[in-house]
């Protein structure tokens, strides 16, 4: 069973992301939710995780800082990180890709866009 960590400070956003993931083929995954980057980091350190989906704009630790922490940790840096944000533009997306984001989607996400973004990951498995 795949383990997916979803980090977003909005309950409804986490629920929406989870529903979209279920629609695109992750209905059997174990979903674990975090309300900020710090909580998400603790969760992915705690157990092997297959995918991290994170918002950018969060209290305590934002998504960009979380991405940097993940990519700087030799034990975690292979973890694919999907950034789902309302604060994305071409300049920010280039920056996030450089840090190591697997894919970046603008909110509100939809199942076709999510499916296309995660296709390389699903093909790999």
């Amino acid at each position: 069973m795949k383990r997916i960590v979803i980090a977003d400070d909005s309950y409804t956003a986490r629920m929406f992301i989870r529903r979209c993931l279920e629609i695109v083929g992750f209905q059997d995954a174990q979903f674990v939710e975090a309300t900020n980057g710090k909580e998400a980091l603790a969760l992915i350190k705690e157990e092997p995780t297959d995918l991290l989906v994170t918002d950018l704009n969060m209290p305590v630790m934002d998504g960009e800082t979380l991405l940097k922490w993940v990519k700087a940790n030799p034990r975690l840096n292979e973890l694919p990180v999907l950034v789902v944000t309302s604060a994305g533009n071409p300049a920010k997306e280039a920056e996030l890709h450089k840090i190591g984001a697997f894919a970046i989607l603008n909110k509100p996400i939809n199942p076709p866009a999510l499916s296309a973004a995660l296709l390389p990951l699903q093909e790999k498995s």
């Binding site: 400070d9 909005s10 309950y11 409804t12 956003a13 629920m15 929406f16 529903r19 704009n57 969060m58 209290p59 944000t85 309302s86 604060a87 994305g88 533009n89 071409p90 300049a91 920010k92 603008n106 909110k107 509100p108 939809n110």
Partner: protein, 167 residues
């Protein structure tokens, strides 16, 4: 020049709101002449834009419209929606609209910084005259946004030359 900027900001906000509500809840948004009536039972949320302008952006929406969105997007029945959840849904909408708005109006090389949405459970009265007001309606229900803060001049040379309004 200032008129051109205002046209871009008006079209940019309309496109952002229309895309957000259409993608999220299949709602069709249209321009409205007047702001939502104060008699309408509404919910408000505000968010700070830190850069490239220093604005507070506020979204006010009738409760019925948030119920409709919750039902379309999250399949949540009205009786399960707490005040907290209504605020959360509205905050997520404003967060998405604000990001889309800035992406829509700014040149691709420009980055921006947003604060976190904050609820104003009893509406969001402006403590200063708004710089900009946007009035819309969806499914017959009026809703609106307004921005207060620094002048529009900080946006000069950072905006796209023109934005085509959605049909």
């Amino acid at each position: 020049m200032m008129g051109d900027i205002e046209n871009i900001l008006q079209a940019g906000m309309f496109n952002s709101v229309a895309e957000t509500l259409e993608n999220m809840a299949f709602m069709e948004v249209e321009h409205a002449a007047a702001s939502p009536s104060s008699a309408e039972e509404g919910v408000g949320v505000s968010l700070l834009i830190h850069d490239p302008v220093q604005w507070e952006l506020t979204l006010s929406m009738p409760k019925q419209m948030i119920f409709d969105i919750a039902s379309a997007v999250y399949a949540m029945p009205e009786e399960e929606l707490s005040e907290e959840l209504l605020q959360d849904i509205l905050a997520e909408i404003l967060n998405t609209v604000a990001g889309r708005f800035l992406s829509e109006i700014l040149l691709p090389s420009e980055t921006f910084t947003l604060g976190l949405p904050e609820p104003c459970p009893h509406g969001c009265p402006a403590d200063e005259p708004p710089l900009l007001v946007w009035n819309f309606a969806a499914d017959g229900l009026p809703f609106g946004l307004h921005a207060t803060g620094s002048s529009l001049e900080g946006l000069q040379n950072r905006l796209k030359a023109h934005i085509k309004p959605r049909d």
